[in-house]
Amino acid sequence: MANFSKSTVPQFSVDVYQNEFLPEGGRDVSAIVTVTSTGGGTTGGFAGGGPAGVVIMVDCSGSMDYPATKMRGAREATAAAVDTLRDGTHFAVVAGTHVAKEVYPGNGGLAVADARTRAEAKEALRRLSAGGGTAIGTWLRLADRLLSSTALTIRHGILLTDGRNEHESPEELRAALDACAGRFTCDARGVGTDWEVKEVTGIASALLGTADIVADPAGLAADFTAMMEHAMGKGVADVALRLWTPVGVEIMFVKQVAPAVEDLTGRRTEVGPRAGDYPTGSWGDESRDYHVSVRVPQASVGQEMLAARVSLLAPDPAGGDPRPLSQGLVRAVWTDDLAMSTSINPQVAHYTGQAELADVIQQGLDARKSGDRDGATAKLGRAVQLAAASGNADTAKLLSKVVDVVDAATGTVRLKAKVAEADEMTLETRSTKTVRVKR
């Protein structure tokens, strides 16, 4: 890994959007931190960022045969993903049931992608058959073992399931996720409609990947190809968002707000006096937004202070201290000019709305499941209103499949009497997806 050359590693830039002006007695400082990495992914990708490994975990439980298109779809999708692998990428395929089995290469390690290994892997996929239970924790632990068998810069997993995690306790899955968190990133997909949304989103969230639904098995191949292309674009792994705050500043929350809402507040690792790291996973050519909210000590009008310093750090391939990539400052300035202190930064307002949108969708769907129709109508109505106001067209469309929209501006809706399960699950899975501020 000594050839970890800087030129092909993404360049990070940090922009801070905030209204730094506080009224007299004001203490709350919110800022949207936009992190953009360029020059890695699409141009250099894995080749530049050092060796990468991907493990594909395919659900082979008995339910995958009902209907049989699921198993066929999964096989084809995995083959398509294998085809998308760049030469030189380390990879393995795991068949998941109540236990995890290595399908390819099957020697307790990873294969290196080239024409021969790709063909062998696809040959091995033909032997995949359905039968057995579901214990996702075992799949993840095997993936972790495989990915740690070689020195890799980027470690990624792709997990496909079609059912509930029935053959191990939630605690066992939790323990497996805790063991794997920070060791590799993982995208999770649910195929069909018999799986548990919170399980799949929980896996993706813990392992800093994406979650989505593929209701129709026929769509799996395209989705897997896209996912693998995305993974191939990653140039640098284990990037941490470091937040330094002065003495006396409370951290209210740290959230990723774009491309999807992900609360990072509880994932802080202390790294020294007044500084903590929040994991962000691996980065290619992309841009993400974070919402940082802190509470500063009161100060008199005319004072100015640094409320937080946000920096991004990448691990040093040589094993030393993390390298700082870029940083931004969140400031607080007290003023008695009400026009300045009362204006809300448009970015902050927008993402506050997007976070609320994700919240009310979840609450509305929960209320609907528990039979609270009034609560569900109120929450989903608010969601429709927020989605319309913020221009989140994708979420608005998903919502319209669950409720009849009477008036989007006021959030007046009626619950649909019959909702396709796939539509409800799609809405729940994608509820955290956000759109960026219209500029």
Partner: protein
């Protein structure tokens, strides 16, 4: 900024109307009470989640000392806010801790005597021992641990070792903020004073603004006939515009330079003042063309306003007193003989002045209105029509000209009030006089930046006869 929603307000019922609440509510459903503004919610419940290092107890206060109990830089291992090692070269610049004065810190003949190093000497008071440990040095497990972490970082970081003026405990990082309490350090322009023979000026940030957007220029020169001339320019940046501090600085500098070039050439002071204001306006206009590098993105409610400022200037030369102005910065005439009437020499370009001039309001009503300070003339690219006002006076007695921004005259609006606060010996102790006037504004509340220049006018026998 108080509209931030919290993840949870932690209240069972609305503090306004006792309506039961849900945990995700941002407003009370019954009365609309803003739950994000409930102070008690965070007060107790959330405090334990704060990640703050625990500070050791401060040493007890030294009897007779004016300072409160303070922590010292060595009380905790420090990194700067970017997480890098601090320069540990000179951890202590203010002597040993008062409480431990019995135990001299350097302890030259100390115990095992390792190689002498600047900090980290094991002293009985414990302050220094904590300054040195660097967690990462420990992690790397150097085979031969250096006595202090100071050596490798010292050369690079030595210049920025200033101690924070707010908490006296942290160091100032390269961005100008304290690495401990985060407070911004005073800017160069927060308080400036200048005294020349025949003119003095003081500018102060005031108590309510976060930066000083006023600027001044003072100078003295010689006319072609060898007689002295003094000039003072005072500018007040328009806060609602972009980079008002740069605008005022540019205007003051350009006007001062213009006068300094024109007066020695023999230009009439009033004409020179007019040209100086035009030059200042051009300097401010040119700022608007520069790309807004100062984070125009970050000030969305401002970025369309071109930099702007007011200007007032005074020239005393060959028996003439010339003033020139645009905006609401003022010049007052205060005769040395206080029994003679003082006068305001300028007419504001302001809403209030226009109301009074038009006879629509009397002065008291106009200045009580919240629009009183809206100015109707300024220097800046978005000023539709530059109309420099100048006036020349020939006082028949000695006195002093007070050239000031509204940060001062808000606290002494009428000429009589101004005359009362100008010290009797102002003409002889110009700088002191200006300081007293700034002090008057600060005592009154210091709501704005305050800038005062004093220019004495002395009636000379030969000046009296000429026209």
């Amino acid at each position: 900024m108080s509209q931030k929603p919290k993840p949870s307000h932690g209240l069972a019922a609305c503090p306004g109307c006792a309506e039961p609440l849900e945990s995700g509510d941002r407003f009370c459903g019954a009365c609309g009470y803003d739950l994000s503004a409930v102070p008690a919610a965070e007060g107790g419940a959330d405090r334990p989640t704060v990640a703050i290092v625990t500070w050791p107890d401060a040493p007890p206060r030294d009897p007779g000392s004016l300072s409160t109990m303070t922590q010292h830089p060595g009380d905790l291992p420090g990194t700067d806010s970017g997480g890098r090692d601090l320069p540990t070269m000179e951890v202590r610049t203010d002597g040993p801790a008062p409480a431990e004065s019995g135990a001299p810190a350097p302890a030259p003949g100390g115990p095992p005597a390792p190689a002498p190093h600047a900090v980290g000497s094991p002293t009985p008071d414990g302050d220094f021992e904590l300054a040195a440990p660097d967690p990462r040095t420990a992690v790397r497990a150097d085979p031969a641990p250096e006595p202090a972490a100071a050596a490798p970082t010292a050369p690079a970081a030595a210049p920025s070792a200033a101690l924070c003026v707010a908490c006296r405990a942290g160091r100032v990082d390269t961005d100008g903020y304290c690495e401990n309490c985060g407070h911004a350090q005073p800017h160069e322009r927060d308080h400036t004073e200048r005294e020349l023979s025949g003119v003095a000026a003081v500018s102060d940030r005031g108590l309510r603004h976060h930066r000083n957007e006023d600027a001044f220029a003072v100078a003295s020169t010689t006319l072609p006939d060898g007689s002295p001339a003094t000039l003072a320019i005072v500018c007040d940046g328009v806060s609602s515009a972009t980079r008002p501090d740069e605008a005022s600085a540019a205007a003051a500098e350009a006007a001062g330079a213009s006068l300094l070039a024109a007066l020695p050439r023999g230009a009439h002071p009033q004409q020179a003042m007019h040209e100086a204001i035009v030059a200042a306006a051009e300097a401010v206009n040119s700022l608007a063309e520069e790309p807004g590098q100062d984070g125009a993105e970050h000030d969305p409610h401002r970025h369309r306003n071109a930099p702007a400022c007011t200007i007032v200037g005074s020239v005393v030369a060959s028996g003439l007193l010339v003033v020139g102005w645009v905006g609401d910065s003022r010049a007052y005439w205060v005769p040395d003989d206080r029994s003679a009437p003082p006068a305001r020499l300028t007419e504001d370009d302001s809403w209030a002045a226009q109301m009074v001039a038009a006879g629509l309001m009397n002065e008291a009503e106009a200045y009580a209105d919240e629009r009183a300070h809206a100015i109707t003339g300024w220097l800046g690219a978005d000023s539709y029509e530059l109309d420099p006002h100048t006036a020349a006076f020939k006082p028949d007695r000695s006195g002093v000209v007070v050239v000031c921004t509204d940060g001062l005259w808000n606290y002494a609006e009428a000429a009589e009030d101004m005359a009362r606060v100008v010290p009797a010996d102002a003409a002889d102790r110009l700088l002191h006089g200006a300081q007293v006037l700034v002090g008057h504004a600060l005592d009154g509340g210091g709501h704005d930046n305050i800038t005062v220049a004093l220019v004495p006018f002395t009636v000379t026998p030969q000046g009296a006869g000429s026209a």
